[in-house]
C-alpha cells in the first residue's frame, strides 16, 4: 500500500508530536518527584515517603499526585473573567510544548529509502520561532493573573510579565553571539556545526547571560517573585485548582525543559557528544538533565532577589553586558578575518 504524499506530510508530524508530547509529560511527572527528592536532600529532610521512599514503589508518587489532582474540585471564582481564567493555563502549557517543534533530537536515520528526521519541523528561522513562542508564554501568566480577579494573582501576573520581558532582551542578545558564528537561524545546521567545538567555548559570556535569563524566564529561584509565597500566596496560581492548577505546574516544568533544551542546542552542541562520540538523543537528555539539576540546586541554595534588585540587575547590568558581548564578538571575528 502506498500512501499519498499529503497523507505522509500530515501523519508523520502527527506521530512525532504525539511522541514528543507524551515523552515531555512523562518527564514532567518524574521531574516533580526528582525536585522533591533533591530539595529534600539539600535541606536534610526525608522527602516524599508516603507512597514509598526507596525502590520501584517510589516511582508511583507522580501517579498518586496526578490522580489526586484530577479528583479535586474544579471551581471558577464568581468574579473571575471566565474566558481568560479558563484559557490561561491552556496557553501557558501550549506555548511551553510548542517550542519543541523545532529542536533537533537525534541525527537523521535512514531506513531503506526513507530518511527520518528527529525534529518535528525543520524550518530555516527556528531561532526566531523559539523567541516568538517564548514571548507568547507571557500571555498565559498575565491572563491567569488578571482573569482570576484576585489581588495576589494580579500582582503576581504583572510582576512576572515585567520580569520576563526585561530578561527577554538580554536573552535575545545572548543568542546573537552564537548566530554570528553559525551564520544561520536553522537549529539543524547550528547543531551540525557543533560536531567539533561546542559554541560555549567561543561564547562563554553569552552562555552565562543566557543561563541567568533562563532562570528569570521560567520564574524559578532566585527570580521567583511572581509566586513568592511569603508575600503573594501563590502568585497567578492562587485561584486555580484541580487540573487547571496542574496545567500551570506542568507549564513551569516543561518551560524549564524547553529553555534547557535551547541552551543545550545553542551552546552545548545539542545531540552531539563531546569529541564527536556517539551523537544521539541520549546526549541531549544528559545535557538537559544537567541544567535541570542546576535549577534545583540553585533553588535549594540561593535566597530570592528583591524586586528592585531584579529589575536593576536585568536592565543596568545584563543588557549592557550582552551588548558588549555582541560588539566584542564582532570585533574579534573581523580581526581574525573570518
Amino acid at each position: 500500500m502506498t500512501l499519498d504524499p499529503w497523507m505522509i506530510a500530515i501523519i508523520e508530524p502527527l506521530v512525532k508530536s504525539l511522541v514528543v508530547i507524551i515523552a515531555l509529560l512523562t518527564l514532567f511527572a518524574y521531574l516533580t518527584l526528582m525536585e522533591r527528592i533533591v530539595i529534600a536532600k539539600i535541606q536534610s529532610r526525608i522527602g516524599p515517603n508516603r507512597v514509598g521512599r526507596v525502590g520501584p514503589l517510589a516511582l508511583l508518587q507522580p501517579i498518586a499526585d496526578a490522580v489526586k489532582m484530577i479528583m479535586k474540585e474544579d471551581f471558577i471564582p464568581a468574579q473571575a473573567d471566565k474566558l481568560a481564567y479558563i484559557l490561561a493555563p491552556a496557553i501557558a502549557v501550549g506555548t511551553a510544548l510548542l517550542a519543541w517543534a523545532v529542536i533537533p533530537l537525534n541525527p537523521p536515520v535512514t531506513i531503506g529509502d526513507y530518511t527520518i528526521h528527529f525534529q518535528i519541523a525543520d524550518i530555516n528561522v527556528a531561532v526566531l520561532y523559539l523567541l516568538a513562542i517564548g514571548s507568547l508564554s507571557v500571555y498565559g501568566i498575565v491572563l491567569g493573573g488578571w482573569g482570576s480577579n484576585n489581588k495576589y494573582s494580579l500582582l503576581g501576573g504583572l510582576r512576572s510579565t515585567a520580569q520576563m520581558v526585561s530578561y527577554e532582551i538580554s536573552l535575545g542578545l545572548s543568542l546573537v553571539g552564537v548566530l554570528m558564528i553559525s551564520q544561520t537561524l536553522s537549529l539543524t545546521k547550528i547543531v551540525e556545526q557543533q560536531s567539533g567545538w561546542w559554541f560555549v567555548i567561543f561564547q562563554p559570556v553569552a552562555f552565562i547571560i543566557y543561563f541567568i535569563c533562563m532562570l528569570a524566564e521560567t520564574n524559578r529561584l532566585p527570580f521567583d517573585l511572581p509566586e513568592a509565597e511569603t508575600e503573594l500566596v501563590a502568585g497567578y496560581q492562587t485561584e486555580y485548582s484541580s487540573l487547571k492548577f496542574a496545567l500551570f505546574y506542568m507549564a513551569e516544568y516543561i518551560h524549564m525543559l524547553t529553555v534547557s533544551a535551547i541552551a543545550a542546542t545553542m551552546f552545548l552542541g545539542g545531540y552531539q557528544g563531546p569529541f564527536g562520540i556517539l551523537p544521539g538523543v541520549h546526549w541531549l537528555f544528559i545535557k538537559i538533565m544537567f541544567f535541570i539539576f542546576l535549577f534545583m540546586w540553585i533553588r535549594g541554595t540561593l535566597p530570592r532577589f528583591r524586586y528592585d534588585q531584579l529589575m536593576r540587575f536585568g536592565w543596568k547590568f545584563l543588557l549592557p553586558l550582552s551588548l558588549a558581548n555582541v560588539f566584542v564578538t564582532a570585533v574579534v571575528l573581523v580581526w581574525l578575518g573570518k
Binding site: 506530510a9 500530515i10 508530524p13 502527527l14 512525532k16 508530536s17 508530547i21 474540585e73 471551581f75 471558577i76 464568581a78 468574579q79 493555563p89 491552556a90 502549557v93 501550549g94 510544548l97 517543534a101 518535528i120 519541523a121 524550518i123 530555516n124 526566531l128 520561532y129 488578571w146 482570576s148 480577579n149 484576585n150 489581588k151 495576589y152 494573582s153 494580579l154 504583572l158 515585567a162 520581558v165 526585561s166 527577554e168 532582551i169 535575545g172 542578545l173 546573537v176 548566530l179 554570528m180 551564520q183 544561520t184 537561524l185 484541580s242 487547571k244 496542574a246 496545567l247 524586586y307 528592585d308 529589575m311 536593576r312 543588557l319 551588548l323 555582541v326 564582532a330 571575528l333 573581523v334
Partner: protein, 118 residues
Amino acid sequence: MPIDFLPILVMIAVVAAFAAIALILSGLTGPRRPTRAKLEPYESGMPPFGSAMRRVSIKYFLTAVLFILFDIEIIFFYPWAVLFRQLGLFGLIEMGIFILILLVGYVYIWRKGGFDWD
C-alpha cells in the same frame, strides 16, 4: 518554504487538543460543591475588599514600553548577525554606529531614572 511550517500547524492542533481534553476532564471529574465563600477571591481569610481589576502601577507600563523599544532593536541584530561574516568590516562599522545610537537612548533612559524601580 511555507510547506516547512505544516508540521508546526499539526503540532498546534495536537497541543490544542491536549489542552482542551485536560480542561474538559477537570470539569467532569471531582466533586462540585460551590459555596459562596469558596467562590470569593482569596485574601488570606479576610473579607475581600473591592475588585482587583483596576488601575495598576505605571511602572509596569513603563517597563512594557521599554521592552518594545529594545526588543525591536534586538530584532535588527538578527539579520545582521546571520550575514555578519559576508559583510566583514563594513558590517562592523555599520553596527558600531547602530549600537552608538542605541546607547544614546539607553544612557538617556538611565539618567532619567527609567530603570529605577523605586
